[in-house]
């Protein structure tokens, strides 16, 4: 009984302390920052295709993503991406740059715990689940596709 009351009081306290994200401005910021990151990607992709017309569409996209990932990783390392993230929320998480940020950020933060147990282990604390989901679901899709092909 007493615990429940305590929990409730604690939850109310947490609720009051959580930084309030105002729905409208944060939605708008997520929209235009996310859109802008995608525009940047399209610009890089078009530039690559313009410079290397022989390159396959797939390779051009791969280069585009590598470039975006590199930029985001650098911006994370110098502390700029976190500021964008505070401002744009989902706009900075959902693009591939957010994936890059989710790897660089803990790698840097836990550096002081050593290269192996800090950087290398913590690197995947957010990206790990993403990669596991990706591998599991793509293997399932591949197997189903194979079975459908047999029929």
């Amino acid at each position: 009984m007493k615990n429940e009351k305590l929990n409730q009081a604690y939850n109310e306290y947490v609720e009051a302390r959580i930084p309030k994200t105002k729905p409208f401005p944060s939605l708008f910021n997520a929209f235009w920052v996310g859109g802008l990151i995608c525009l940047l990607g399209q610009g890089i992709n078009d530039l690559i295709i313009y410079l290397f017309p022989m390159m396959s569409e797939q390779s051009a996209w791969a280069w585009t993503l590598v470039a975006l990932i590199g930029i985001a990783s650098f911006l994370t390392a110098v502390g700029v991406y976190d500021k964008i993230g505070k401002f744009a929320g989902g706009g900075s998480i959902v693009p591939i740059t957010g994936f890059s940020n989710s790897i660089t950020s803990p790698a840097l933060e836990f550096k002081h715990e050593g290269v192996i147990y800090g950087t290398c282990v913590k690197m995947f604390s957010i990206a790990g689940p993403v990669i596991v989901t990706g591998i599991v679901s793509s293997v399932v899709v591949g197997i189903v596709y194979y079975i459908i092909g047999l029929i």
């Binding site: 994200t21 944060s26 939605l27 997520a30 929209f31 920052v33 996310g34 859109g35 802008l36 990151i37 995608c38 525009l39 990607g41 399209q42 992709n45 996209w61 791969a62 585009t64 993503l65 590598v66 975006l68 990932i69 990783s73 650098f74 390392a77 110098v78 502390g79 929320g89 989902g90 706009g91 998480i93 959902v94 693009p95 591939i96 740059t97 994936f99 890059s100 989710s102 790897i103 660089t104 790698a107 840097l108 290269v115 950087t119 290398c120 690197m123 957010i126 990206a127 993403v130 990669i131 990706g134 591998i135 679901s137 793509s138 293997v139 899709v141 591949g142 197997i143 194979y146 092909g149």
Partner: protein
Amino acid sequence: MEYLWVFLIGGLVCAIGQILIITTKITSARILVLFVLVGVLLQAFNLFNPISEFAGAGINVPIIGFGASLAKGAMSAVESRGLLGAFTGGLEATSAGIAAAVIFAFIFSLIFKSKTK
């Protein structure tokens, strides 16, 4: 492919993510997982390419595109090398992105000091 569509679709996808954050207090790891799954499903039902044709980077840059290339890789590898492709295709198609994210994170974490308090 219009730049306007890239901006609008990309922005819309990110706004959907933001709506999830506001309404459910979802963590960023869960958002990334969710959007990767959406991408895998879109590709599995052949819905990704039609969107990609007019949205371009607007759908390829969000992590949905990462999920779609995982599934696309698995499916095309199954076509070329049979069942083994289901295991090799996904990672093959996304290896550049994953390797880039890891190598940049590793190098920059050696060079820079943490800014987050």
